[in-house]
Amino acid sequence: MSPSECHVEVVANKQIAPEYFSMRLAGPARLARFRPGQFLMLGWTDGRDPLLSRAMSIRSAKSPHPPFSKGGNGGIWGAKCEVEILYKVCGRGTALLAAMRPGRSLRVVGPLGNGFEISRNVTSAVLIAGGIGVPPIAALTEVLATRCAAHGTKIAVFLGGRSKADLLCVSDLRRAGATVRVATEDGSAGHKGLVTELLEQYLDARRSTLDGPLYACGPHPMLAAIAPIAERHNMPYQASMEANMACGFGACMGCVVPIRGNARERTYRLVCKDGPIFDGREILWDEQGAGVGKMEGSAV
């Protein structure tokens, strides 16, 4: 499905935790055809300041939405579906999003990126989300649950956050049939410590019963910490990467991550087009952090 550019209308914008919001957007039906892990570039209609659109993963999409009444607010967009995003307020753009009332419109380009690869014939899947990395992981859980129902696939989700308030979508995940294990750095819920510690314990005990891949989305240090774990257990690892983006569709060359390649010359891939989901073995993990003090916004 090729991406498109459209206007969407804010239908709901609800605070779900101290720093987190859920926003529902009404837009053209084609937005609903997405793969978990794909994202939207969300921009302001005036588009001068803030200038750049913000990348937001698609949490869920409902289609078809009952068509809007002709004279009504949404009629001009020919709206037919509803897309949900979850976001953390961590800067100017997300603060402006948080202040948006229903009825206001935003500019959207999407769905963008490759999305997670779903293997149908596995009996297990292990998913890890850190902080605001949860939206694509929750979307993936729901798709895995329906697609792989016939195989009785066991879905284990690991959620990590600074404290209890940073753990989102827990009930959604359970409702989809996943086993959810949580870790918080302050110990306010679940294991006190890092989610990767929980993951290691789990894999050490169960590895022999697992045939599916690891899927992860979260802050860079978490994704990097999972890479050697996946390697040690010889499990395929799909990681959702982040980078500052200007366009989101492969035109600016701004959103690169370094790839393991030949030693003499650095190779880069585009997060927006070649990703955001990468094979964990492909990424040059130690180098990525060199990206100079960014992305604190989405730390766990």
């Binding site: 090729s2 991406p3 498109s4 550019e5 921009g43 588009g47 001068r48 300041d49 803030p50 200038l51 750049l52 659109s53 500019r107 380009v109 980078a243 500052n244 983006m245 200007a246 366009c247 569709f249 492969g250 035109a251 600016c252 060359m253 701004g254 959103c255 690169v256 991550v257 370094p258 010359e265 650095r266 190779t267 880069y268 180098e287 990525q288 060199a290 990206g291 100079v292 003090g293 960014k294 604190e296």
Partner: protein, 315 residues
Amino acid sequence: MRPDLSITVAGIRMQNPVMTASGTFGYAQEFEPFLDLSRLGAIVVKTITRTPRVGNPPTRIVETPAGMLNAIGLQNVGLEAFIKEKLPYLRTLGPPIIVNIAGESIDDYVELASRLSDQEGISGIELNISCPNVADGLIFGCNAVLANKLIACVRQATSLPLIPKLSPNITDVVEIAQALADGGADALSLINTLIGMAVDVRSRRPKLSNVTGGLSGPAIRPVAVRMVWEVAQAVKLPLIGMGGIMTADDALEFLIAGATAVAVGTANFTSPSSAKRVIDGIKAYLIDHSVGRVTDLIGSLDLTGTTREITEWSS
């Protein structure tokens, strides 16, 4: 009334004056889902160099007030891959294709220009002598003698129209423009990005891995309009104006200040159909203001009552 939007720059005929700025339109294919590429005045593709370049490490992009800093580092597929993989597609689109080139030496530019001259489907060459993100990227753009020599040498190597692209990171833009005109340029593009910098105060580190980067977007438009206006008065060549064009009104500022054509840059990122809206908006303006031809607008700035008004006793 159907207004006439067509223009000619450096002998290249365009159905309207709206082009795409190099490095902001990829190799055009990325934009196919978003707009009808055949409607563009001309397509200018990302800078190509003799050999492929991997570009700078991340972070390459940061947002700034009404603008952005980039330090891509001229990542590109290189001359041969461009000819083999990108050009065949570009040729099918319709609008004139202008290839932007950069080199580290006069030899590089000469080699690129002569190799491109052998190819079908290229209407002109834009010379990037103003990239702030690579070592030596600016030497030709900041020195009138070198700029003149460069263009004169490349002139020998090709009969394609040559369009050097000026840097705003200089004291006197007119001096360089004049040197390029004297050297045999057919038109001038202006402006490239302004060198800028941003600091993360918490970590006390630069926000870009290259430390400095090129500022683009609405923030630079007033600088760009001023430079177009200054050059338009001093140099006879047609000008392609760019810098922060988001809307038709923004583009009209450049035309009125003296540009024959404009290029949409950063706006392609924030809305990939921007160029189409600029074209439609210019057309609507011509109709609303009963202007028959877009060329009637070029340099039509009215200075009456300003300090720059030319009166009998001031001249």
